[in-house]
């Protein structure tokens, strides 16, 4: 068993493939079979055209920081001793914006629009979190 104390994602039926792919160190999202939009969060119908067919596609894992915040106050015991930490909205090269965290960089060095790429953190035997580092 792991001594990991942070919250773990509780996948929905629609998002399960996202977390399964992350376990294999792939960043994957549904791509609409009708209009080709790649969407986030995962859902049964396309948020651009309403089509109900899609396939899961692996993404490049590169993107840019659309915006970010730095936690200086502790909200959850899992981060005790780990302040400050950065939470970011990352715009993926394929279009969608996803929520993640930036690692391997000091908060003072982060800029909006800077390029980043995905890394996978195997936080437990079953869960890997897609995080981002400077590209």
């Amino acid at each position: 068993m792991s001594d990991y104390t942070k919250p773990l994602p509780i996948p929905s039926p629609e998002s399960k493939p996202f977390w399964q792919a992350a376990r294999d160190h792939r960043l994957s999202l549904p791509k609409c079979s009708n209009c080709s939009q790649i969407r986030f969060p995962p859902s049964d119908h396309c948020s651009a055209c309403g089509d109900a067919t899609h396939e899961w596609v692996d993404l490049s894992g590169v993107g840019r920081v659309f915006s970010f915040v730095t936690y200086r106050r502790l909200y959850n015991k899992g981060w005790e001793g780990e302040l400050p930490y950065i939470v970011a909205v990352v715009e993926l090269a394929e279009g969608p914006r996803i929520l993640s965290t930036l690692v391997g960089i000091e908060p003072e060095e982060v800029l909006c629009d800077m390029e980043v790429k995905v890394v996978f953190d195997d936080v437990t035997d079953n869960v890997s979190l897609p995080k981002f580092i400077p590209a």
Partner: protein
């Protein structure tokens, strides 16, 4: 800067225009506020009763006159309006609870007008109550979480696992992006905090009545979620507020000068805060545009404002979206002194949620009405105030409602 391929921002239907025939037909006739701030040992429902009876007394109505009840309470009290109705001992021909966060209270006023106009009610109480200070200070665990809701109501994924907790972060994403695109500074956010604190220092009912604030204090305050420090964040308050809406005809016989409802609208960027430029051009833009159109007024005709201030940045961006300055110039506008009593747009004249108390926008509606009734001493009364715009914003940062109030001419 848009995300996704060809996603439409709104339906392809023509943009609806609120019915101008409703302008000046309905009024807010009474306002009431509970004790504010730290009110330990008093429940949400007791605070709510206190505010509703104060509003009824304010205009000379009784609970027996009320047939509409539009309420918002804590998210974990099921059908809050029903529980409030039980306390008041009344049946209502029209009643529901709202769930649009800070946009809910103006939405209630709008729904009250709609209901009266449709013949579903005649005297409507719009109210809000929440024991938010007591809830967030019940023990060390909830104090750390800083949330007024139970932990199991938080997001299941794409949030907590990455360390996203609390309301400040979501709004701080917008602040950071605005700083990046327009060069907005922390000192400009501070100017908002200072302006509202000055009003709160003149408001004997406010939570921050006795605490003055300088820019040095602001810049030295603890950072919470950068770029926000503690003083960018609104208060946690035990608080309730209520207003009474009825027709102008019914309003004539009542105690207080009725304040006319001139215009209103809502807009909801339900596609999400992360979508397009929703963080820097908020739902306040389309909402206010249609409210102005209904009222037949523009930003230049507005004498004072009550702007939903969950966080300093949200005031700045809404002032831009409401047309009081150009997009990107909100920082200069707020640091020009415009928001102060002697400024071009006295704003949040009660101290707002940053310094009076946080009742999810209800106190902003109350204050807008009271300014137009002219009830205050000189040190808090906006000079020559004949019109006021009130904003409500929330529902996880994307829902907006606008209300334009005015005196009879």
């Amino acid at each position: 800067m848009t995300s996704g391929a060809s996603r439409p921002a709104i339906s392809s239907n023509p943009v609806p225009v609120p019915n101008r025939a409703l302008r000046d037909k309905y009024a807010i006739v009474g306002t009431g506020v509970s004790r504010l701030g730290k009110v330990p040992g008093v429940s949400t429902l007791a605070l709510t009763e206190e505010a509703i009876y104060a509003a009824l007394n304010d205009c000379g109505l009784t609970v027996q006159d009320v047939d509409g009840l539009l309420m918002r309470g804590p998210d974990d009290i099921y059908t809050f309006h029903q529980v409030v109705g039980e306390r008041l001992g009344i049946n209502a021909t029209f009643s529901t609870s709202t769930a649009n966060g800070g946009a809910s209270q103006i939405l209630s006023v709008i729904m009250a007008v709609m209901a009266i106009d449709a013949g579903l009610a005649s005297v409507v109480v719009c109210g809000y109550g929440r024991d938010a200070w007591s809830r967030t200070h019940a023990n060390k665990d909830v104090q750390m979480r800083g949330a007024t809701r139970a932990a199991q109501m938080e997001s299941a994924e794409f949030g907590p696992e990455f360390g996203l907790f609390g309301a400040p972060a979501m709004h701080a994403f917008g602040a950071r992006r605005h700083m990046h695109e327009f060069g907005t500074t922390r000192e400009q956010f501070g100017a908002i905090s200072l302006a509202f604190r000055e009003f709160a220092n003149r408001n004997p009912a406010s939570q921050m009545r006795d605490k003055t604030l300088t820019m040095d204090d602001y810049l030295a305050a603890n950072m919470i979620v950068e770029p926000f420090c503690l003083l960018d964040c609104s208060l946690r308050s035990d608080a309730a507020g209520a207003v009474i809406v009825t027709s102008v005809q019914r309003a004539r016989d009542l105690k207080r000068k009725p304040v006319l409802i001139k215009g209103f609208a809502t807009h909801n960027n339900t596609s999400g805060w992360f979508e397009g430029n929703n963080m820097t051009c908020t739902a306040a833009g389309p909402s206010s545009a249609r409210a102005y159109e209904m009222a037949g007024l523009g930003p230049k005709d507005i004498d004072c404002a009550q702007i939903y201030d969950c966080f300093t940045y949200m005031v700045l961006v809404q002032l831009e979206d409401y047309g009081f300055c150009k997009k990107g110039e909100g920082g200069d506008f707020v640091s020009s002194g415009a928001l102060r009593l002697d400024g071009t747009l006295p704003t949040n004249t009660s101290g707002g949620q940053l310094s009076e108390a946080h009742a999810e926008g209800m106190l902003q509606v109350v204050e807008g009405v009271r300014q137009l009734q002219g009830i205050y001493e000189k040190d808090r009364q906006a000079p020559r105030a004949e019109t006021c715009i009130v904003s409500g914003h929330g529902g996880n940062t994307v829902c907006h409602s606008s209300l334009i109030l005015g005196n009879a001419t």
